[in-house]
Symmetry: C2
Subunit: 333 residues, 2 copies
Amino acid sequence: MTSQKTSNSTHSPSSTVHSRIVALAGGVGGAKLAHGLAQILPPEDLTVIVNTGDDFEHLGLNICPDLDTVCYTLAGLANPETGWGRQNETWNVIANIERLGGVSWFRLGDQDFATHIERTRRLKEGEPLSQVTKEFCAAWGIKQTVLPMSDSPVRTIVDTDEGELAFQEYFVHRHCGPRVKGFRFDGIEGAQPVVGAAEAIEAADAVVICPSNPWVSVDPILRVLALTPTPLPEREGQKINKPVVAVSPIIGGKTVKGPAAKMYAELGIEPSALAVAEHYHDLLAGFVLDNQDKQLSDNLKTGKILVTDTLMNSTADRARLAKDLLQFVGSLL
Amino acid sequence: MTSQKTSNSTHSPSSTVHSRIVALAGGVGGAKLAHGLAQILPPEDLTVIVNTGDDFEHLGLNICPDLDTVCYTLAGLANPETGWGRQNETWNVIANIERLGGVSWFRLGDQDFATHIERTRRLKEGEPLSQVTKEFCAAWGIKQTVLPMSDSPVRTIVDTDEGELAFQEYFVHRHCGPRVKGFRFDGIEGAQPVVGAAEAIEAADAVVICPSNPWVSVDPILRVLALTPTPLPEREGQKINKPVVAVSPIIGGKTVKGPAAKMYAELGIEPSALAVAEHYHDLLAGFVLDNQDKQLSDNLKTGKILVTDTLMNSTADRARLAKDLLQFVGSLL
């Protein structure tokens, strides 16, 4: 690893670089970076393709946690404390469902319920998820393009030492307690990429993999979109001809949020930014890791490296990281 | 009409008469009298059979307005201002559905949404409505028996000068504007009476028809239960062998709430307590009308008469009317 290969944000010029970006996002971490990019880029230059493997049917409703987190965040409606759900939320529906003896481990707020009720109604009437999402984005004043990865249901199943668990069962109900042995994505073979995804990537300057969980947030998107360095055997994939840049969700061996680090450890891989870079292997033209992990850059074999502050505690942090990232992307083109 | 035939509550003894009662109820008026009876009778002596003809599927949810009004009222959870919906209600779900461009003319509160979501989920899983209602009553601390008239869907259709309208479309969306020409009850021929209704009536001393709308609240119940003075041609009805007492929902030619008086007028019948008594014709062993309508009692041809204050503005009013009614029922046995 030469110093030429490594950019450091503290030395980057402060001018803004505008590129057309497709961002691949899971939940909170992905939403934050997407929001950062949305602060810098003209709306027409940002498309966010969101994981739907976490989606599930619950209380008779179609719930899309990652999609909603991305949309609420882009719309400025997200709860700043949790990263998911709505700000100024009330909890009267779930409290009353609980009183009736209903299932209440998945905490849905009242404003959030509106999203699920209205989405479920439209899906039942035959509207594709992408169309519902487009209309919801318009209603929420989101000008960027937000696409679910597919209009067909894909469901992440976590294989654990206690058997197979549906993702939200593992993640929310069991608090990621059971030990992970692997993952599968029900329905992924038949799931077509959402209409518009290929066009957005074709029109983009680069694809950004947000700091989301590589195993359960990003992998489903990569597989549905057939975004691989080599064609996938199970579908007519094609080698992506745009630079792909990933931002590590692991900082100092830990994840900011979620079970990615725990998953790496349980799968026998030391959790680190290095492990993330190796996860995406030949796909990457560039990789972004935190200043805390600077010492790892010499061991990174993948593309160019940007070392910068990747923690996004504030809205300004998100914009700053997005700016650094866009500078870095510019250097790859 | 002799004075012997007419009881006047002001002359009734104040001792409490306990009878086993089956009350037939629609929405707000029915719920109030049911609540009055519940204040007087031991819980095991009151069964309320509720109209489900107003039920509808809306926003993907199974909504049972009369059933919920009766249950919320018996549980002390009802909004005292409106008579329907929940007290201390919030409206965040419907406000956000409206923001998403969803249908919002049927105003559902957040606590109320919980009822519909949880009921819909249980119905989808195959639980009969009566079982769901039983469980909800237990959760809400209701000790009386509340039965939907049938576990099969019955849907009231209002025939108007603007064509046929589903009941809630007519009632809530169109504010009872279109002129009524008649009614039909989709599904009523195949709808079996709820399990327990016949047994409750068999065990009862009397059946009370609450001050609910005769056309759209009470008629569906009477038809499903085959509660007629003569067997109905369309089902194996049998003459009811218990005294039936009706309380007029029309006072001084007007209804306290709802479109009953307007319906009578549009159907070419002068709206009055007299018209209500004639509606139920030979079914009645007794009829209760308001002091305001005292002058009508001489024209009443149906059974015994109780003239009393039937307006139920307060909780105490409900109990007082129930007490008068039970005294009157006692005089019929």
